[in-house]
Symmetry: C2
Subunit: 358 residues, 2 copies
């Protein structure tokens, strides 16, 4: 049974060249002292010459990706463009850039047939018609198995009814939506000392909380009633959805407004959506969280991932085994009590089946 | 073995009379058409004559509390003032009001000896000296077993070094800190359609996410290294901390800034703090989350709670068994596989031991 990484990003040269031409977030800043710097989070956009992060070769190089894969025993990677994808493109350019980027990804995968697949990127700043057209088009690309989506949607979140045409096309084309955070939470929630903690608060909390809010808004707006076949893979084991599912369901059951509007009955329960529409990656770095993920969605809906190229070892040597990867694969082993069949399923078998990788 | 509710609030008449004299949040609004309305969340502060919520008798009446307890087989309640406590008082008044409120709570408990205990409220807008003085004073009140604390601290969060004197006094006096959310998240994270979902988003997500951010800031600022004996009871099973503990620990281990500052080694691991300094209530309305709570802190650190008077049944009849209570007690049963000794410990035994209730 192959090992499959469903959460692994790339900033292909075509994409970085777009970012190089910009001066507002997201952009690449040619630092006079520190090489090219990638600035993608609003919090990184300072005037420091070392703002953002260096663009390591692992960010854009396929040979680095393949060497990372072989070093960690990963047989298949399902690549996705890294955040913030194409959310920021001028509407008139979005459609054509998306076609270029997706064709480029498909061609990259085609150079390593059977080893690489990808989640496509949608031109979200374009018209719904263009987004739907690109959805239909990427479904026909040989190595495309889904789309990666941020939480902003058309600018107003994923509970925006204007997205219905997109959900419909995605469900009809059997494309998995890989829902991934980027925008985090407003900086003030971290308080005046956040800078002392490096990137821990926005990465450890902002990202999963953003995902949780986005998918809960989808739940509450009835997306999963309107599109019962829609399949969403939630990054980072669902943000915090598996842990909060009970509280969300209870808050719905106790809400006077929803009751008055007749919105409590007839609705699909949170537990039901988790079991039928939600896939979770196993990117959570610990056993307790992973067990909760298994409890709510089932080990048959959980898929291993690495978040490569992020969270490399802190030392200079990127060629060692990555601790971030080990924490995740160990969690899979221990959460499943070492049960071989289940471990193999989470490490790859589920992805092969769900994403049709054979 | 008695059943103990460690998460149960009261708005005593002394407190509501303070709120009645105010016109900005938090305040009580005498609606011309809808009786007295309690407005405590910024999002509730509209111009509607039905803004906020009615002050049900269950909010302030001890006889309602006792009848709720007997109806649900609860033998002992550890009362706490409801949010937003005394965070908002003018500094010059805070100390004396806190003394009055805490003495009043102690007297209330004294009227039902052995049935009622309480978490005191600190005058956080006063000077640190006054806060510490009130901490030392409440430790000597007969029925006080800890203090309830919001996430704002002195106004800059719980990672504020100016709180060190307070943490020290709390640890020395063996008072448990019941950390409870109130401020939620900035409204924009819920998007333009949040109003359609009643109070679900701020209550189901805002509250637990606020708690998670607050306690993670405590962790990162070294509170638990400086005060190894400090004991913190986290509301709502830790917000989302049990689920995110692995990601937080991994983000610390991979943070370049923390590494450069020498802050990764020597630190206590998140897992260690969870096992030695964190208590969790069992207010999470579902088995998967509760199992994660048990996994990280141990069933010996978990204590049943109800969040009364919030989440009453939606029907008119508050005298039935509350669904919100049943969801939590059922989760305790199922998460512990019905193991009688462990269930009894979580339902009361742990609280008796930890809070010295016998």
């Amino acid at each position: 049974m192959p090992t499959v990484d469903v959460h692994t990003h790339l900033y292909p040269p075509l994409y970085t060249s777009l970012l190089r031409s910009r001066t507002t977030v997201p952009y690449i800043f040619p630092s006079p002292t520190a090489g090219d710097r990638l600035v993608i989070l609003p919090g990184e956009d300072t005037s420091s010459p070392t703002r953002g992060r260096p663009i390591a070769p692992s960010y854009h190089s396929i040979s680095h990706k393949l060497s990372f894969m072989s070093r960690h025993g990963i047989d298949i990677s399902v690549l996705s463009l890294a955040n913030p994808w194409l959310d920021w493109l001028p509407p008139a350019e979005a459609g054509s850039v998306a076609r270029e980027v997706n064709d480029d990804m498909d061609a990259t995968c085609g150079q390593h047939p059977g080893k690489l697949f990808f989640f496509a990127t949608l031109p979200l700043s374009a018209s719904v018609e263009e987004i739907v057209a690109e959805t239909r088009r990427v479904a026909r690309l040989k190595y495309c198995r889904g789309v990666i989506l941020g939480t902003s949607g058309l600018g107003n979140g994923l509970d925006d009814a204007r997205l219905d045409g997109v959900w419909q096309a995605l469900a009809e084309e059997n494309l998995v939506v890989f829902l991934h955070p980027h925008y985090g939470l407003p900086g003030e929630v971290y308080g005046p000392r956040a800078g002392e903690y490096g990137h821990v608060l926005p990465l450890a909390l902002g990202f999963p909380l953003e995902t949780t809010i986005a998918v809960t808004r989808m739940l509450l707006s009835g997306v999963f009633e309107r599109f019962e076949r829609l399949q969403v893979l939630l990054a980072h084991s669902g943000g915090t959805l598996p842990f909060l599912a009970g509280r969300i369901e209870s808050c719905i059951l106790h809400d006077g407004h929803l009751s008055k509007e007749g919105k409590i009955e007839g609705r699909r329960k949170v537990w039901d959506v988790l079991r039928k529409n939600i896939y979770l990656d196993a990117v959570i770095y610990g056993e307790p969280g992973l067990k909760a993920a298994i409890d709510v969605s089932g080990s048959d809906r959980l898929m291993f991932g690495t978040d490569h190229p992020f969270f490399p070892p802190l030392g200079e040597d990127e060629d060692e085994e990555w601790l971030s990867v080990k924490l995740n694969s160990q969690a899979v082993q221990s959460a499943l009590g070492g049960d071989k069949a289940h471990v193999e399923a989470v490490m790859g078998g589920n992805a092969v089946k769900i994403l049709r990788l054979s």
